[in-house]
């Protein structure tokens, strides 16, 4: 692999990032940190893409392209999410996720 780094290590890294992200998503109350956790989840997927691309089709670049694509979409998504969060802040003067229950049934 990359000068002697085995694939397993990449997978372990990605898995740890993924579950750290999940953990953060589930337990943090601040919307900004929840958004950050989401970025972690996305990037763990990106690592997997790159790693498998290098392992399986070293001569192709589709995995890389996909990663770049995900990064671009994530940027857009983050900007929209932050815009929503700012609006929520203006209305409720905090960004605690537990206060956001107006739209249940």
């Amino acid at each position: 692999m990359f000068e002697g780094v085995p694939l397993t290590w990449f997978l372990i890294l990605a898995t740890i990032m993924f579950f750290v992200g999940i953990y953060g998503f589930l337990v943090r109350k601040n919307l900004i940190t929840i958004l950050m956790s989401l970025e972690l989840i996305l990037n763990s997927v990106n690592i997997n893409f790159v790693a498998f691309n290098k392992l399986l089709y070293p001569e192709h670049l589709e995995g890389m392209f996909f990663t770049v694509f995900i990064i671009a979409v994530a940027a857009a998504e983050a900007s929209v999410a932050i815009a929503i969060i700012i609006n929520i802040y203006r209305r409720l003067v905090n960004i605690d996720v537990e206060n956001m229950k107006e739209m249940k049934y």
Binding site: I22, F25, L26, V27, V97, E98, M100, K101, E102, M103, K104, Y105
Partner: protein, 638 residues
């Protein structure tokens, strides 16, 4: 050559559009005059066509052929199967063109006076035009599907005109009754058309009625209940014809249809639309004769029975329009009967010729009778002959024309009715003695009820009227006089040299063995009526009392209406409609309502699960995903 004939049909259609959509912009009288002059144009064209057809180009060799004047493919289903619209000219359709346009023109002219000051004057004229258009389209149909389309159109215009006084409950009920009964009969007609075209692969009359054509020579191998498919299809087609022509037992709508304005009764329910059934049988006659003789026997039996049945009822009724309605039914029964006994070929087809001849003359004297009845009702403001009497001094022109029509229908020579009825009786005579005697009885009854009507209206006791009855205006009496001329002279047309079953002219002659008894019974009937009704006597009462139950049954029209009501209201409504309605309301609607109710209940119960807490949802989602992943990893074994 005959392309212009399409205008005979189209002029009334454009009149309908013109009067119906723009009539209200002008004075009411304008629509009447426009409608009448349009019909005059149509009538002139018809006469020209008849002249061209019968005297100039119609004959090839010595046979009147069928000419397609105009044809257009209207609906192309496949290469072979297409529905056309067009104009077919042959002796019977040309004759019908004359009858329809003439009577329609007379009725239009008469209505200008009769409908004066009525609400819906232009509605009336636009509907009359619609009717004329449909009826003309029906008779010139080149194929059975075109006939069916126009058949329904005349049905709908009849419905609209019977219900013309739509504020009157009886008129509304009568129009509904007429529509439903004829519509029910037309269901049979449609089934017959489908069977026939399935069997022969064509709608076209030229192919269907050619005696050497495929349709007739191929025969019909398939049998059902002992009768061939062709026979069944012709019986079903005749069912449609019986419905329109008010044959027993589908006649119940005709007497009620008299709720419409009197000119409508004259045009639709006496001269033209009700003979459409006769025309239908005549049009399909070669098929009836060659492929379905059993169906032709059905036509004969139904015609003969309806004729005598209606004649008996007509003797007991008091509403003059109802008497005339039953008389119409009786005369149409005679025409059907004549068709039923007829053979095919020049002299063999005497019955066919007689039927068409009677149709022709009947149109004149029956339209005249109705229009005269309209003039009488107009003067007396009552439909009941009990309210009339001694009117001959007040209504001289109506009196004379009515008398002419009565003499004509009673078959007194040399009026038109004599010649045509004589041919019918001769045709019956050729078939069997019994049918001839039946015909004589019908003739006697006809003469009796017509003169009963005549004497009770114009003679009888002198009534005290609220205001002196006065003769109708000129615009109403002129059509009466013209039609009376028709009722006198139409019989002198040598019909057998124009209209025959196969187009070959033959010379008919008056058979004195038939004519003398026929005239005698006619005179007998008329004299009996004169004895009973000319002066006020108590003979009718005595006779009706001595007849007892039979008289009451005839007076109540043999309880046919009651039987229909019993079958529909007591049996169909209670034992079919109600259970079906219950099934619809409780089972079909119930299951739908049940589903929505259950969905509603369940969702109100479980909506509490939506807490609005994002992270709770995420927990459930993640644990579900992990659970599934575990299940896939450990339990999924291929």
């Amino acid at each position: 050559m005959f392309t212009y004939t399409v205008w005979i049909v189209l002029i009334p259609f454009f009149l309908f559009i013109l009067i119906g959509f723009f009539g209200h912009k002008f004075k009411p009288l304008v629509s009447g005059v426009v409608g009448t002059s349009g019909l005059f144009a149509s009538m002139a064209l018809s006469y020209y066509t008849a002249y061209q057809y019968f005297f100039v180009v119609g004959k090839t060799g010595d046979v009147f052929g069928k000419i397609i004047g105009y044809n257009t493919v209207w609906l192309k289903l496949t290469e072979k199967l297409h529905i056309d619209l067009g104009v077919l000219l042959d002796p019977i359709s040309v004759m019908m063109l004359i009858v329809i346009t003439t009577v329609s023109f007379m009725v239009h002219l008469y209505s200008i006076g009769y409908m004066q000051g009525e609400k819906g004057y232009m509605r009336f004229f636009s509907m009359l035009s619609l009717f004329s258009f449909s009826m003309l389209g029906l008779v010139v149909a080149t194929n059975i599907f075109q006939m069916y389309i126009f058949w329904e159109l005349v049905g709908v215009s009849s419905y609209l005109l019977i219900g013309f006084y739509y504020t009157r409950d009886t008129a509304v009920a009568a129009s509904k009754k007429a529509f439903i009964v004829t519509r029910f009969a037309d269901l049979g007609f449609l089934i017959g058309i489908l069977l026939l075209s399935f069997n022969t692969g064509t709608f076209d009359f030229l192919t269907l009625t050619d005696p050497n054509g495929v349709a007739i020579t191929q025969g019909s191998g398939i049998m059902f209940l002992g009768l061939s498919t062709m026979t069944w299809s012709m019986i079903f087609i005749f069912m449609g014809g019986a419905g329109k022509s008010a044959m027993f037992p589908l006649h119940i709508w005709l007497p009620d249809a008299m709720e419409g304005p009197t000119p409508v009764s004259a045009l639709i329910h006496a001269a033209t639309m009700v003979v459409a059934g006769v025309y239908l049988v005549a049009r399909m006659f070669p098929i009836f004769h060659f492929s379905a003789p059993v169906a032709l026997d059905v036509v004969m039996c139904v015609g003969a029975f309806s004729s005598i049945f209606a004649a008996v009822i007509a003797c007991t009724q008091y509403d003059i329009k109802r008497v005339l309605a039953y008389s119409t039914m009786s005369q149409i029964g005679l025409m059907m009967f004549a068709l039923g006994v007829s053979g095919y070929g020049a002299e063999e087809g005497l019955g066919f010729m007689a039927s068409m001849f009677h149709l022709f003359t009947h149109a004149f004297f029956k339209a005249l009778l109705f229009l005269a009845a309209g003039a009488i009702i107009h003067a007396v403001h009552s439909n009941y002959m009990n309210d009339m009497g001694g009117l001959r001094k007040h209504l001289p022109i109506t009196h004379i024309t009515f008398l002419i029509a009565c003499l004509s229908i009673a078959g007194i020579p040399p009026l038109a009715g004599f010649f045509s009825k004589d041919e019918i009786l001769a045709a019956g005579h050729e078939k069997s003695m019994m049918l001839f005697i039946l015909g004589l009885i019908i003739s006697a009854l006809t003469a009796f009820y017509m003169f009963r009507l005549y004497f009770s209206i114009f003679w009888g006791k002198q009534q005290q009227y609220h205001h002196t009855p006065h003769e109708a205006p000129k615009v109403m009496t002129i059509p009466l006089i013209l039609l009376a001329l028709g009722a006198v002279f139409a019989g002198f047309i040598p019909f057998s040299s124009f209209v025959t079953s196969d187009g070959k002219p033959f010379a008919s002659h008056i058979d004195f063995a038939v004519a003398i008894p026929a005239v005698l019974v006619g005179v007998l009937g008329a004299l009996t009526a004169m004895m009973f009704y000319m002066k006020e006597t108590n003979i009718p009462e005595t006779i009706s009392r001595s007849l007892g139950g039979f008289y009451r049954a005839a007076f109540r029209k043999f309880y046919i209406d009651e039987i229909y009501l019993f079958i529909t209201k007591k049996i169909l409504f209670n034992y079919v409609s109600r259970p079906v309605a219950w099934f619809d309301r409780h089972i079909v609607d119930g299951s739908m309502n049940g589903i929505s109710y259950v969905t509603n209940e369940v969702s109100t119960r479980i909506k509490g699960m939506q807490s609005g807490q994002l992270q709770q949802y995420a927990w459930i989602f993640v644990s579900g995903a992990i659970g599934l992943a575990l299940a896939f990893i450990y339990l999924w074994t291929l």
